[in-house]
Symmetry: C2
Subunit: 310 residues, 2 copies
């Protein structure tokens, strides 16, 4: 158990709403940026925590994509909320599960006393990189941001019970954007190569890899940390796709026990998990003592499971 | 003290060599990629460690720039060296000091027993993003890769004595690539905007910020960890620029005590620090018991200091 607690949280959705088959999606549409959303969520989380920026010991960006190739996202956020301070700014990235990986990783630094209060921000703007030719993913994503302030807890029953990250790179090309990094640079962009610069999702292979790998990973988690899914109050899975109920059924997670808001928000990339967690905390539906399992699949294929005693 | 040790290391330089004013620079020139260099360094480090890939508990990419917007670099490296395993793959990024931040961060997870052996890989291909109009930076950079296997040490005198990261975002726009992320996407690229998609370095403002901030940060480090720069055997600074001797003089670090290979290799972005560390380990110039200080400035402006008892 790594004794950490959530002391602040905040969500942000862009103003612009689009609809596909009666389902709402939130999209920046060029009027808001990944950075602006990150800053708005971070300020909300700070306000909720009642801390000042100077009380924060580390700013971590946990988003899937970068705002600029250089510097890292956290430095750009730092300029907006922490300019004039010397608070460290760093990025942690496992695509859609970046928030869980950042929470997982930074909990060790909090536990060891390196940092007391860590601000973790996820912000993604999927709408900048969708391919209208791929209807499934084109209609699936929302933009948004979510931020949390995580702090040391003195309560020995509060914190991270256990966590597991696995990467199965058989699936690395099943969800990707090939162009825009160094392997195919922005300066090589041509309109006829648009498919390489937008999100490419091969739904079926990724789903079959999940079906193959997730049950054994959940079993490993239960055995390693001597917990049973039955004892968990709530599961917050990454809102990856409309196949969520199918995956949850395979994992034998009762539909009353997990959050499924895909029809309301779609897939918010790295933001889905923290957004749902923040939303339920704001509504009072998650309370101190609750056992909440954060889990999800990310491009990679990377899978995370993390059990949090709130 | 976080008890970790280096059990494997490997460097890789691209084959192509260019010269500017008699100084060599190593550049991929389109014939090698950031991914290929990362893989070559990783394999060398693994061989040196005498471990098999299945002995590695986590693969961390610690590079400044991304190979693809999605997924993270570590997942792409995973496919080349760890496909079929479930080893977690994640990216940690503070631009030029990413290796130091990754070593610093992951040492807590090693210390806590989460992972035993961690493979950290830095690989950068600056030559893909230089602006020929900016002669200083155009002639400064080399491409390359460096990888380390870090493991738990049972020797209570071996490991990380202390570390400090500070970000001073007054300097966030002094070294940057503005275009290619979500703030100005690859698909918006036009040849006339090339300056926005290549590295923009404002040498003087960043140097004056370093002069202002680094002495107080080094003083803080010495006081916090009760060490004196005099007791350190070797300083490996990021090979940021030809101004390195000027900065070292301000920090009162004797020229015999620090590594200055800027004229031989230039600035290798995230690779400079691990490359120099690996090179000196390979040549037997760093030995067990040596106190080695890794330090550097990165876009952000982020500054790292980390003291390693080898």
């Amino acid at each position: 158990m790594r004794n950490v607690k959530i002391i602040g949280y905040g969500n942000y959705l862009p103003n612009n709403v689009v609809e596909f088959d009666g389902e709402k999606r939130y999209r920046c549409n060029g009027s808001e940026t990944q950075l602006e959303m990150a800053v708005k969520a971070a300020i909300k989380a700070l306000e909720k925590s009642k801390l000042k920026i100077n009380d924060i010991d580390c700013i971590v960006s946990a988003s899937a994509v970068t705002m600029q190739p250089i510097p890292c996202n956290a430095a750009l956020i730092h300029e907006q909320i922490a300019k004039g301070t010397n608070i460290p700014a760093m990025d942690i990235n496992t695509t859609c599960t970046s928030f869980v990986t950042a929470l997982d990783t930074m909990s060790y630094l909090i536990e060891a006393g390196r940092y007391k209060n860590v601000l973790i921000i996820s912000s993604d703007v999927a709408s900048e990189g969708l391919n209208e030719e791929q209807k499934e993913s084109y209609t699936l994503f929302s933009d948004g941001a979510s931020a949390f302030v995580i702090s040391k807890s003195e309560d020995c029953n509060q914190g991270i019970v256990g966590s597991l990250i696995h990467t199965y790179s058989e699936g690395v090309h099943a969800t990707e954007i090939r162009g825009g990094g160094t392997l195919k640079t922005a300066m090589k962009y041509k309109p006829e190569d648009k498919a390489d610069y937008t999100f490419d999702m091969k739904g079926k292979p990724i789903l079959s890899l999940c079906v193959k790998k997730l049950p054994e990973m959940f079993k490993e988690f239960e055995e390693k940390y001597k917990v049973s899914l039955k004892d968990i109050d709530l599961v917050i899975p990454h809102q990856a796709s409309r196949a969520l109920p199918f995956i949850m059924q395979i994992l034998k997670i009762d539909e009353k026990k997990y959050v499924n808001k895909v029809s309301e928000y779609g897939n918010m990339v790295s933001v889905s998990i923290p957004y749902m967690l923040c939303d339920l905390l704001e509504k009072g539906k998650i309370k101190k003592g609750n056992k909440v399992l954060l889990c999800g699949t990310a491009a990679g294929l990377t899978c995370n499971i993390l059990l949090l005693n709130i």
